[in-house]
């Protein structure tokens, strides 16, 4: 266990992922971070973005929608509002959401603006991450 990281991704809808991995890369609110086993204890907030879990030569990609990460020497614990594996992302839905958000942005009412912007960001990130489907 010395040189492995236990990555756990939990959301209010359940445990999404729990496995031992070699390396984790995530999008922190202050910038991207990479974690290798033996990292110093570290707590950060996450923004909408990609989380990559590397085991050997294989990489798994996740979409993470806000949240927190607590990092210890041999574990990475991610608490997210929602999270999806790259191959579980519904691209059609994301595209539809992107379209809706773009239309709302054009009308740009003050109150809706931030929400539309946020949903646009989510949709765009989802689509981007969905490109990284694990080749079969």
């Amino acid at each position: 266990m010395e040189n492995k990281l236990k990555l756990e991704i939990v959301t209010p809808y359940g445990l999404i992922f729990s496995e031992d991995v070699d390396e984790v890369t995530g999008a922190g609110s202050e910038g991207e971070f990479g974690i290798l086993p033996g990292h110093v204890p570290f707590v950060t907030t996450l923004k909408v973005g990609m989380l990559i879990a590397k085991t050997g030569k294989e990489s798994k990609y996740f979409f993470v929608n806000w949240g927190y990460a607590e990092i210890g020497a041999d574990k990475v614990m991610v608490l997210a509002d929602s999270a999806e594996r790259s191959d579980e992302i519904d691209v059609e839905r994301a595209k539809a959401a992107m379209k809706r958000a773009e239309e709302r942005l054009k009308k740009a009412e003050e109150i809706d603006f931030h929400r539309a912007e946020a949903s646009l960001e989510r949709a765009a990130t989802r689509i981007q991450i969905a490109q990284h489907r694990i080749p079969k």
Binding site: E8, V10, T11, P12, Y13, G14, L15, G28, S29, E30, F33, V40, P41, F42, V43, T44, T45, Y68, E70, G72, M77, L79, D81, S82
Partner: protein, 289 residues
Amino acid sequence: MATLRDIKRRIKAVQSTSKITKAMKMVAAAKFRRAQQRMFEMRPYADRMNSILSSLAAGAEGELHPLLAARPRKNVEVLVLTSDRGLCGAFNSNILKAAARHISELKKEGFEVIISSVGRKARDYFKRRNISLRKSWTGISGRISYSNAQEIANDIIENYTNETIDEVILIYNEFKSVIAQKIIVARLLPLAPVEATEETLPVFNFIYEPSKQDIFGSLLPKNVEIQIFRALLESQASEEAARMASMENATKAANDMINSLTLQFNKARQASITKELMDIVGGVEALKG
């Protein structure tokens, strides 16, 4: 005495009622399983949230976060969770009774009580009594999502931070087992101080990004959301369990009724056959004479 046809009609009516209640019981059972499933699914999240919070709290000094700081109580908000639909036994009336009792106690102690509610049943209850609600959310039960909890939490936190309310009390049904619910009256805000547990990591060498205050400050509202979400799910599971039990009882009662009506029907049928026989025998005897 009721005629044969009347009894037959009643048996038919009760039979169709029992079919309906039986179907409702099955539906409630399916919904209950789903609700219970979701309750289990969110547990790991809540557990980990607590462990992060406690490891943060272990080293938190300096000024208290507003959501933690208790101030003199004056306006107390009571948030009551009920269901949207009825036919679930005493589920709603129990919780509303408990809420009413609690509210009058608070008033006796001299607090200004503000009420808000989740579920159609609570809204209608307070409306009938001409008690105005600060806010009521309806149409949530049945398909609770995390964003519902977020919406409620945001509203409450906003009112708490601008000091419209000084304390928030949550009243809901906690799921104990399929046949038992427990009414919980819990303080939601100010949040109970988080205690550091023994298993938390040593704190002195943690790196925080952004600052510890920021993380702590954004985790606390999350914690409120989680608590509301949990209460909503508990209440949902309890509701379906209560509905299941009450529909089971209704089906049983209907079957009992069918049995006693069938007995009555047979008795009446036999009585009429006997009567007819007597008539015939009487007629034959008269002819003989």
